[in-house]
Symmetry: D2
Subunit: 337 residues, 4 copies
């Protein structure tokens, strides 16, 4: 096997620190060389106890460190574009947390820069593609197990939303996972979005349109409906039912242990994505490291990141303006076909 | 207890013959006095072995038979209005199979005729209100068990559609059950309809828009989405999930016996509504007979029948024209408040 | 159809009054002619509002009433034998609540009296044979759906036991249902019993051996294990898993509605058998009435009642003495082959 | 963090080769230094592509290699004792695949040798303790979530047994997992065993007593029943239901994806333990490596290995002789209290 992959981690917030810990403790074949964060103390805290890891305020300085063979981008959205372009310049494989960039236009610039380079270097962190259940559903669909898929019914529920969430964030941040999952599961592009607004829950912060029912149409005529409800109160629940011409398949509904007590047969619902998708994050980073060590890039591409951003932007317009909004996708460069 | 209720059954087709059998064998306190069907032989076959039951080609002649204390209307849709008006004239309690009449305008005439009479005589055959699971869900919602309801997700799937089904029939016949169930569960009126058209299944007859995703908005801001798929191939499945401000509740998904064999843990899905709703039909007719013997009428009213028809007509317009169609309901007479 | 069946109901306690109500309101083709109970006031209360029903303190006087065409025995156990022999004398079809008689010896006397008469008149009230799920399991086993059955795993759980329950009652009353169900599902006789005694639950009354694990062996080598736990606290739960040579099948575990709230996906467990087996009782009595009107007797026979009693007695000996106790069955009269 | 742990893997059969692969690819902080197998070619094949790993026919030679800091024993059962004693001699932490040794007497010699040394070095490979569902059940029991446990109902089913399986192997190999799981979940010792023999399945090899119902009693009065059925034909299924004084809890029954097709709602049952327990093996070895690097030993101890062996031997006697066999455990050395 080739030698250990030296990784520069950009961003030492919640996700960044989590990836540092993951690379150090759960991923074979990689080590953290450097961590960059404008808040150097935060970067230092993230690497405490890891031995010789250099800390920078400037991400470009981190990329320039000797021994850096790959980059993990977990900085704030608006910092992604510069970091990604720099990594492309240096020919470094990148795993970028979602979103790829702060808006669709920036994402498209990244796509075009990578396309100009002529080889794929960027993977986007849509970790559901590494979840065991999603993979099982994908395998079933690809094998024709329920015939051609016609509908996806998705639920994305959180106990409560963070303070900064706006009605648009429900689409651009939460539903963006479903956008990628739908594109991936179906192998189709999303062409139009409609957002239906039920009465807002009294449990949601004032002014927040929560829940929403978001409808996607694809270029092959499938329909995807997503209930997003980020103040559902009762648990973190991500489910997906695919309905095909000869059957349906559903994932995400049955946590394992059944407890009978006090007149109820109960299953616990996880509180957050850390419980539900912990293994998916591990698998994602392991796969990325294994690929990078062999000079390959797999997983969701920069194009996937751009397409998700473009669809999400159409979704936010549909939310704000009402009615159906068509998605205006750029032409797909040959690199991503 | 009062004496046995003499029932005139109008229509000796599948539903009519089934009701004759039910009244004779499964319902205490009622007996079939007469059956009318333009095809007298069919009427005769339906009452074979039941002793002294008179048979007519003309429904009005049946209503005039001595001993008739109530009417069960199971004739074709276009014959309902005349029969219902005649029953109202005679002051007879009626159980009318759905739809109340052949269109919303006719249904409204029936409503107004009953309202003029000043007392309720008509019950419409929306039998889901008598299904154990629906009743449990209704009780939970009424008790505030999941907070104020915001969304209903409904699935209505049949193995295969009968030959006469058109794209509009999916709404006017199949989805009409969900229209009534939603109005009843929520205690709200439907104010607008949108129909989303996925690619049609290759398993559906050519030209049939199947499946459809039908969206309803209510006067309290709840959203109801219905997947109707009448050629799903795999079974008869009617499910409903209510999502409220503090929880969700779902019915209809778990047939009872789990069989493990050949690498699968399996539950059988019923083939048709006869299996799924057999008990509901029995309960419906028993409740109607019990009420009629005490001079009362309960269950879904003529107004419910009219409202379902008006919503379904808006749905068919939405299907044909695209976009969102508002429901134009007449004013509700005081009798139904 | 023949005329309505006149029924004498013996015993106006909880079960008797329930059967009176059932015959009057839920069963077509029968009417209650007379009710007997040593407590005439209780008998009178049971028939209030039913019109002309005669009331007796003496069961034999009730049997002698004109118009009595069948007998439903719901009196205390020790009164069964005399009532059953009297009904046999008069050639009346009988539905006897379980147990058939107060002990196996008395049950055997009833069996022999019926056998002498040369035709079956007695049905025993093992109502599980009329439960939809049990019938589905029976049909699966008979069709060879899981191959030859090798094991039955049964659970019989009650929230709390009535005051009169002794350790032996758990077997003679609760487990007697599993004894009949196992004999019926497998079509085999039970040949030996072992009772394993876990530590008693602190929630059970002092001195009560609860739970118990009761093991049955059959003449075809199948093993049946029954957890009986009548103070389980959390609900009424009766489940059965059959394990065969090519698969397994389980019933009784999944009540219908799933409610998500407060971090849990929950299903309600019924509180008692009235909820769980209400429909089975209705079906049982309807089937008995329909048979009786055609001069037939179906369902569990007097032999089944005797065999259950004999097995239960062996079980109580096994409970008291420890170890394995063989069941000593009398020879089966030809009438029951 | 301390430096990477050098591991000697003894045995390059199925399990050994799997552990080599696991250490190389899935476990951070360890590397394989040497592999020993009497079949040197097999050892060589296991380490192909791993770089500088030395290969031996003699396990003791492997232990003597420089850089060996820990030992993973995956050799045949009869070779365990010598390897374990040698590792103890050298003060090396060991992960030994189950069983600890080829019989209880040998296991006890290992226990005593470790006890003489005065510190724990040995962990036994009962990997269920690292399975997410088992851990959840353990946490629930420890938290008193269902009150004091009274019964465990276990199922251990395999599609088909390997050729070398005897009736005794069902207990000593398959059920040994349940023995450890029960001791661990309950925190109690097993004091007696009874084996009930249903008719053997026609699908099992001639002469094999399969299935078996194995009953354990514990020193706190709990009862454990285990259905072991290693030719069940339909899948690999390991389930456990704990019944306590105030509720029950069950794990292992609900694989994730539900597919509806052809009249069935189906869940796939895994084919073998590799699917079901893959993550548990990974977690086990990761935990062992992490502990060893910090000079600790956790997980199931040599005493657990000995106790499982002693209970299994009593079980085999119970199988052969019939009746109830008491477990004769040696006194537990202070090291394991």
């Amino acid at each position: 096997m080739s030698e250990s992959l030296g990784v520069a981690v950009l961003g030492a917030g919640h996700m960044g620190a989590d990836h540092v810990r993951r690379l150090a403790r759960s991923v074979v074949g990689a080590h953290v060389v450097t961590v960059a964060d404008p808040d150097r103390a935060r970067a230092g805290a993230a690497v405490a106890g890891l031995g010789d890891v250099r800390v920078h305020a400037d991400p470009l300085a981190a990329l320039a460190e000797p021994g850096v063979g790959a980059v993990l981008v977990a900085s704030p959205d608006h910092a992604h574009e510069e970091a990604l372009l720099a990594a492309l310049d240096r020919g470094l494989p990148v795993l970028s947390e979602k979103p790829l960039a702060h808006d669709a236009a920036a994402a498209l610039r990244v796509v075009r820069a990578e396309a100009r380079g002529g080889r794929r270097l960027i993977q986007v962190g849509f970790m559901r593609r590494y979840d065991t259940e999603y993979r099982r559903l994908k395998a079933l669909l690809d094998a024709g197990g329920i015939g051609r898929p016609l509908l996806l019914h998705c639920r994305h529920r959180n106990v409560a939303s963070p303070p900064h969430f706006t009605s648009a964030t429900l689409i651009s941040s939460s539903v963006s996972h479903e956008i990628d999952a739908a594109r991936w599961l179906l192998g189709q592009e999303v062409t139009a979005v409609t957002v239906v607004r039920p009465r807002a829950s009294a449990s949601a912060p004032a002014g927040l349109q929560d829940p929403q029912l978001v409808l996607f149409e694809t270029d092959a005529g499938a329909i995807v409906d997503v209930e997003v409800f980020v103040n559902c109160g009762f648990g973190y629940e991500v489910t997906c039912e695919a309905v095909g011409e000869s059957g349906s398949a559903r994932i995400g509904e049955e946590p394992a242990m059944v407890v009978r007590s006090a007149g109820r047969a109960q299953r616990e619902i996880p509180r957050d994505y850390v419980v539900r998708f912990a293994d998916a994050y591990d698998r994602e980073v392991r796969a990325w490291v294994a690929d990078a060590r062999e000079g390959r890039v797999g997983g969701p591409s920069a194009w996937d990141g751009y397409a998700a951003a473009a669809v999400a932007e159409a979704g936010v317009r549909a939310l704000n303006d009402g009615g159906r909004v068509e998605v205006d996708l750029a032409e797909r460069p040959g690199l991503y076909r």
